[in-house]
Subunit: 210 residues, 2 copies
């Protein structure tokens, strides 16, 4: 099994944090995605979505998508469990991970690519084209992030972690949401004190240290 990754890619770092939290080490092949390695063979055929990370199994099969990779590794190495150890816990962690991704992390990621000069010509992940950066995408992400924070803040008043009392893969998603907000220049309002407490609880966790 071999992981193809780029150390500076946020989705790559999500899988690295997951591996560290699980105490797992994989054989890693570093791709230089800034130089366009992911568009060259054999990588183009391995992952035609031209993104990292992706995992090559011993039978040659490829699994891309950071959460799908983590889910697969959890099945092979159940402890410590990060996706939940009962059907109900697994459903709740999955629900929170999806809410985080669809309502916050994904719009935030699009906003970063529409804002930072380094993403000109690369506005959509895994592409090189002339799609232009748009301030509308950034503004919409700010609106969605504020709505999201308002919805999770009351929930976090009585939960140490996003899916309850235990740290999970959804908190790893949360960490990268906070990191992305910093990069985007989106400041979390002090009105969302429970969100800020959650951030403080997870930010120094060992799995996030390089």
């Amino acid at each position: 099994m071999k992981l193809y990754n780029f150390s500076l890619a946020p989705n790559g770092m999500r899988v690295s944090a997951f591996l560290k939290e699980k105490g797992l080490k994989l054989d890693v092949h570093e791709l230089d995605v800034r130089a366009g390695d992911q568009f060259k063979e054999p990588f183009q055929s391995m992952n035609p979505f031209n993104c990292v990370p992706f995992l090559e199994l011993d039978n040659g099969s490829i699994i891309s998508e950071s959460v799908s990779i983590c889910r697969y590794l959890e099945e092979l190495h159940p402890e410590p469990q990060l996706f939940g150890d009962t059907p109900e816990k697994r459903a709740k962690i999955d629900m929170w991970n999806r809410r985080l991704e669809l309502d916050a992390l994904s719009p935030m990621g699009h906003a970063i690519r529409n804002k930072l000069p380094m993403f000109e010509g690369k506005v959509l992940a895994g592409t090189r084209n002339n799609i232009e950066q748009s301030p509308v995408v950034i503004e919409r992400a700010f609106q969605m992030l504020n709505i999201f924070m308002g919805r999770v803040d009351p929930h976090l008043a009585s939960n140490d972690f996003i899916s309850g009392s235990e740290f999970s893969v959804a908190d790893i998603t949360g960490y990268f949401l906070f990191a992305g907000c910093d990069r985007l220049g989106f400041e979390i309002s002090t009105e969302f004190a429970n969100v800020l407490s959650w951030k403080a609880r997870i930010i120094d966790r060992n799995c996030f240290k390089l």
Copy 2:
């Protein structure tokens, strides 16, 4: 266990199609989301993300997010399996479902809400506010949909269904991608003949009949 749903909501229909494919029947409570039932108690507290569908377990616990609901039901009723019956198949189905959602279904859903007059004042799912509809969001979705179709078309040359030889939950996502494209006025180019063949293979499946 009770499902709170709105029969005309695409994410509600995804769960209904899943139930039909599994041969399951649930006690369903219909919410009129056009009249704003989801903002009233007890529904507001049950799902502060103000979306349908959501599932109430017998212990009072709530699971929202269509895919998380389906994943939970698959654990209770494994056959016929729609999320895969081995770790590798589960990872691949999850990967395809994510690619479909993040690169196609989600931008398509945002575009519909930014285009159709019925979504004025409801541009973001589960909200009522004055965020304006934007043509930029629609244009970006069209770009993403074309890129997505170009990436999946070669894969579908040798796969009957999106994750291989078996129908899965990711094909249910695919069906609602096609339905949404029709609603949005996004026509799939005949250049993507394998995508159109996939559409033809799934569109008449019994689980999608009302």
